[in-house]
Amino acid sequence: MQGSAQPVLLLRGIRKTYPGVVAVDDVDLELFPGEIHALVGENGAGKSTLASIAFGEVRPDRGTVEARGAVGLVHQHFELAGRLRVWENVLLGREPRRGWRIDAAAAHAHVVALAERNGLAIDPDAFVDELPVGIQQRVELLRELDREPAILLLDEPTAALAPAEIASFFATITALAERGTAIMIVTHKLAEVMAYAHRVSVMRHGAIVERTLAAQTSGEQLARAMVGGDLPPVAARAATTHAPCLRVADLYGGDDERAVRGLTFEVRAGEIVGIAGVEGNGQSALADALAGVIPYRGTVERPPHARIGIIPQDRLAEALVPNWSIVENAMLGRQHRARSRRGMLVDRVHAREDARQIVERYDVRTPSLDATVKHLSGGNQQKVVVGRALIDAPSLIVAYNPTRGIDVGASALVQSRLMQARNEGAAVLLISFELDEILSLADRILVMYRGAIVGTFERDAVERAQIGRLMAGIA
């Protein structure tokens, strides 16, 4: 479709280095009106950096950016004004006016219509910071969709969307492209690429190593191009004994909208229990109650001295100290454990040793162990969080979207590690919005809807369609 059209975005010889890394290495890229261009690659390959350069947010060391028309960017770690309402965020800078004042009614109506048109349900009057991460993602998307830029850059826009939402999201994107918008989308979900993209560029170590038409490649081919080889196999499921580990009964807690309402379930040692559900059905409340950071009613029982490894949902806000090094972050949450201290002192030898192990085992791409975490790519930050949660061989693991933002290769690695932990006798509670992930890992699947469990499936009796219906509250 680009045919004879002129590119609207032209990147020439772009290079960007950070201390110790070449983030983008001599990249040429052009975007044509009406195309959906997928940019894929490993964590830390330089995708976000390239998108920021194209947007004009980051200045390249070298090279030129030519854009014909406005550029919009949906950030990987989105940029919203938390304590403003949804509509205020969406319409910021283009507020409908009545005289010198904002026409709030018109704004509200505008956002409702916009959301409906794009199949992204949202309450325009909600305060953004009270929304779960996935829904915040929609706000950022809507803001860009409403601005209708000639060039739209999307950095992992679907990382926090449910499958059904992804379909409607791409319907929107496709329609936009048909109206002439040039779209570049960064994603780790290769299925999306195959289904919706026209062209694909694969990045590795800052350079574009492959350019192809989506029609001429396959998911496996792409994955190999990204990783530079075959995907590591996920560890096999081994037989385990099922001693009781975590017991939750009649759990109530969380704020009204997204509370848990009378949850009862059990996770036994040596099994992975998957919580399937659409975001906003009480999963955060469940995870927070288990982490002990919100008040709750009901019973949460676990073995007295159980070591718990937690992977929270929001890596930057809840799991990491962004200004600290990997070494210091590797201890967070473990700093009171015997291994991390010598009396009142920090055990610096073990801290460094553990950090090194995390970096090695999870393939964290970083110039050094002392690199500041906020300078790591999103996926690599996630790997640090996952690695830290699993390093002490915990007997109970609560993992909330553990592979969010992680590339295909590393995802397989993380899933493999979870499986190994299970095989070695850990009880794993896996809360994930990726049904595929749950289906491949879980021994038992609980479907959560409106704060309660509405269905339970053993691994050998899974009915995918039925789960989908339960998740949507239809069955």
Partner: protein
């Protein structure tokens, strides 16, 4: 005049300079810049109002000069916080020192006497207009912040300047305007002290009112009306102290002076729930 009327009048007068400075604090912090320099900007306003009133023989240019001086230091803070990315608290502290030190020096340079200026033409009874204006401005600022596009953008800036960039606006410019306005308001508050309430500049005359205003901002939860209410409460306690002075024999004299502050502490403990500043308050962009 009855005691009650005295008390009301005194409360309004005492609250006015704090209201001005607190409104300045609200607008600045809402844009994401912590304005520790309010005290210094009040000093600058008070000092230059006197200088210009002295030079021109008329208080109105003095008032303008006070506002301009506050705005100028607001601009310096804005420049430091936006362009030079100086830590805002450092910059504000520096401005406080520069203003108090500069005024002390200026007194010697201009009047050849340390401590206090000569007496100059003041607003006289017209200063009531400034009292009323303070409260009108509070209402106006409330409307501006919550009902106009500019207000929304400023608030967004204080929440997340990057969101503002993503929306195609320039957060640095927004912050600069907000902080300059903040300084102008603080300067007006200072000018009210020196040529409204009084008719001279005297060292230490702001007596920490800029910091009290900062407290009022927090008490008022970063809203113009809230901050004004808090300023009124501080004004009330200051006034109470005057009215009660000498009437309650069993209280030691300085316990009376401590009254506003103790009351503030008790009120503070009584306010339930955490008060949360704007998310990007103090965060450089």
């Amino acid at each position: 005049m009855t005691l009650a009327i005295t008390l009301i009048v005194l409360t309004l007068i005492k609250a006015t300079p704090i209201v001005y400075a607190a409104l300045g604090g609200v607008i600045s912090e809402r844009s994401g810049v912590i304005n520790i320099g309010l005290e210094g900007m009040m000093v600058a306003g008070a000092f230059f109002a006197v200088i210009v009133s002295y030079a021109t023989g008329s208080p109105v240019p003095g008032l303008m000069a006070g506002i301009a001086a506050g705005a100028a230091f607001g601009y310096i803070l804005a420049l430091a916080a936006t362009r030079f990315k100086v830590d805002q608290i450092v910059a504000g502290t520096g401005i406080n020192l520069i203003c108090t030190g500069g005024a002390a020096y200026g007194l010697v340079l201009l009047f050849n006497q340390p401590g206090a200026s000569v007496q100059v033409h003041a607003l006289g009874s017209d200063y009531w207009i400034l009292v009323l204006l303070a409260f009108a401005l509070a209402a106006a600022l409330h409307v501006v912040l919550y009902r106009t596009p500019w207000g929304l953008r400023v608030r967004a800036c204080g929440e997340n300047p990057f969101a503002v960039t993503s929306a195609g606006l320039n957060p640095l410019l927004l912050r600069t305007y907000a902080v300059v306005l903040s300084g102008a308001l603080a300067g007006l508050g200072g000018a009210f002290l020196s040529i409204g309430e009084l008719n001279l500049y005297s060292e230490g005359m702001t007596a920490g009112r800029g910091f009290i205003a900062l407290a009022a901002v927090i008490f008022g939860r970063w809203t113009p009306l809230g901050a004004t209410g808090a300023a009124l409460v501080f004004g009330l306690f200051e006034a109470l102290q005057f009215v009660l002075e000498g009437r309650i024999a069993w209280l030691p004299p300085s316990a009376m002076s401590a009254l506003p502050y103790v009351a503030a502490l008790i009120a503070l403990a009584g306010i339930t729930g955490r008060v949360r500043p704007p998310k990007a308050d103090g965060v450089p962009y």
